[in-house]
Symmetry: C2
Subunit: 354 residues, 2 copies
């Protein structure tokens, strides 16, 4: 039987908050940021093993990272790497992938996933994905996975679910998408209980999302619809290079999710982290007795607490007397920074970009 | 006219307190520890320009560092590099150098100098050396240079001078050598005014020091006296390898200085530092407005005070939020350590020597 499940991996981001690990040359998703021996991009692909075959995996990324993506996952079909000539947020590239996949398989069911997040419970993750796929199969439904919030974070958008579940009791109609809240609002979301974090994981059929683009973003739909004869041909990249920049710079959340009425959510709990900052990486990883996180096999900590030390594998390092610090090195660049100041890392990285 | 001034540079030490810069492979004296582009050994040689020609410079070092010394100063005569097969403190190697130099020139006047100290006022240094050389020429006198103490340091031995100066009013007979004192004693030394730090810089004629060895360390004198036929020959190294280990492991201070009665001292002030620790390097170098010392041209300090950051020249580094820290990298090994804990650095370096 033909496997009609397709995966679209969004891998175009920069992730400058993880400097000096992440750089414009090698952004976060292509780095082994948690020290497992695999990049977050490779871990994302692994997470879908058994759900769809590798020839059904599409990667949307910047033209400059397409070789990197292929080198990290040599089994990918080169024609399945969609090269954006410029950044236009999530809506245009999701449309591009949807039309291209539909050309190959009109029955396609698509999972869209970020490439730079972490999931620790892959078994639960796959259960959720399979359950979600059943929910959208042959239905005009858009499903977005929510993350059950562990704390009133002000760093994520929230999905507000209807009180009443669908027939699948894990799934709810979406009442509203909420921007990143202030702390007071976030606390009230958690008290109300029907809010979850917006993870950027979406499930839909190709036909459903195409229909949504036709209705809510017709100018984008037109660009990719007009291209249907050139997908998988020599002309594809030229066409994309020419027309993609004309797309509006707009997110899928803003352009479709917040407007359509067939949007559902499934609040999940599979050990998810967006690894948005050093602090969130620290929160996720195994800590020593002194509450330190160490990546690197020759790192010695003395009188150190609550630090995250991220070093090249065999680099010899002694850290004495630090509390609550980030110590990170990559590509010969070293950062030492109090964890409370991590929002300034983007500024620090700019010092060397002149 | 033949130049009868000879220089003996003691370059056999390890300097493990400057780890990770100094290592057994490349000890402190062969490193550009102050960021001038020259190692301390090279600076030591430069300091004697005009005082003696390069063919009069002898270097005493471990056999393992002889190539390093030659590579840092290609003009040195290879036969002038005295290779110790093992460490026997200062007395045996000073005897070796004295007998070997005397074989070449019985009129020799010798300056003995450490190779890992810093001198900032080279003009005053050369004036002192020339004045000292005049004082010992054709006289049976041993002159040791003292450093006028700037503070009651407990890290140095002290030289106690007689109250009454010699005919050269800068020079005094030595009353006693004093071990490293406790703080109270050091304060009293400074109050009394006739104490100076023992710098390890000595001046004497070859004949004088030979006479002192004959009297106070006859077993050492015998070893090097018996060798007079083989200096500068193919048999020299074999002889040394065989007999040098039989020498007692003893310092020149303890074996001769403290016993002889023809010892003089000249209290000096030529911007000397023994650079014994990171803290003393910090004290010596130029500080920014925030009292930071930085070596490396791509180091950015943010909210940092009283730190010493010593990095490979072009390494990109951001240090945020540290006060009173050492941040040092060399040969791919990184140290971050509170300056108050620098006495533990030797312990830290041991972590990686297994």
């Amino acid at each position: 039987m033909k496997n009609s499940t397709y995966l679209v991996i969004m891998a175009g981001g920069i992730g400058s908050r993880f400097w000096p690990l992440s750089t414009v040359e090698t952004p976060k998703q292509f780095l082994d940021i948690v020290g497992t021996g695999k990049s977050l991009f490779q871990q994302t692909i692994d997470r879908f093993k058994g759900i769809c075959p590798i020839q059904n995996i599409f990667v949307v990324t910047s033209a400059r990272y397409s070789d990197l993506a292929l080198s990290q996952c040599p089994g990918l079909l080169p024609e399945n790497i969609l090269k954006e000539p410029c950044m236009r947020n999530t809506a245009p590239c999701i449309a591009y992938a949807a039309w291209k996949i539909m050309k190959k398989n009109p029955e396609a069911r698509i999972v869209v996933t970020p490439s730079d997040h972490m999931v620790t419970d892959t078994i639960e993750f796959q259960r959720v994905i399979r359950s979600g796929l059943r929910f959208i199969t042959n239905k005009n439904r858009i499903l977005t996975l929510g993350i059950r919030p562990s704390n009133p974070s002000t760093g994520y958008g929230y999905i507000q679910a209807d009180a009443k579940p669908e027939r699948n009791p894990e799934i709810f109609k979406v009442s509203a998408f909420r921007e990143k809240p202030d702390l007071k609002t976030a606390v009230s979301y958690l008290e109300q209980g029907n809010y979850s974090w917006n993870s950027g994981l979406f499930l839909w059929s190709a036909a459903t999302i195409r229909e949504a683009f036709n209705r809510y973003l017709p100018e984008v739909a037109e660009i990719f619809s007009n291209a249907s004869n050139i997908y998988y041909s020599n002309q594809e990249q030229d066409y994309i290079n020419h027309y993609f920049p004309a797309c509006p710079n707009i997110s899928i959340d803003y352009s479709i999710m917040e407007k359509a009425d067939n949007i559902y959510t499934m609040p999940c709990d599979f050990g998810w982290s967006d690894l948005g900052t050093w602090g969130s990486l620290f929160d996720e990883l195994h800590k020593s007795k002194e509450q330190n996180v160490v990546i690197g096999d020759q790192v010695r900590l003395i009188d150190a607490e609550e630090c995250i030390v991220h070093m090249p594998l065999h680099k010899k390092v002694v850290v004495q007397g630090l509390k609550n610090y980030i110590v990170a090195e990559s590509s010969g660049t070293l950062l030492i920074c109090n964890k409370n100041e991590e929002q300034r890392i983007r500024e620090f990285s700019g010092y060397f970009n002149k």
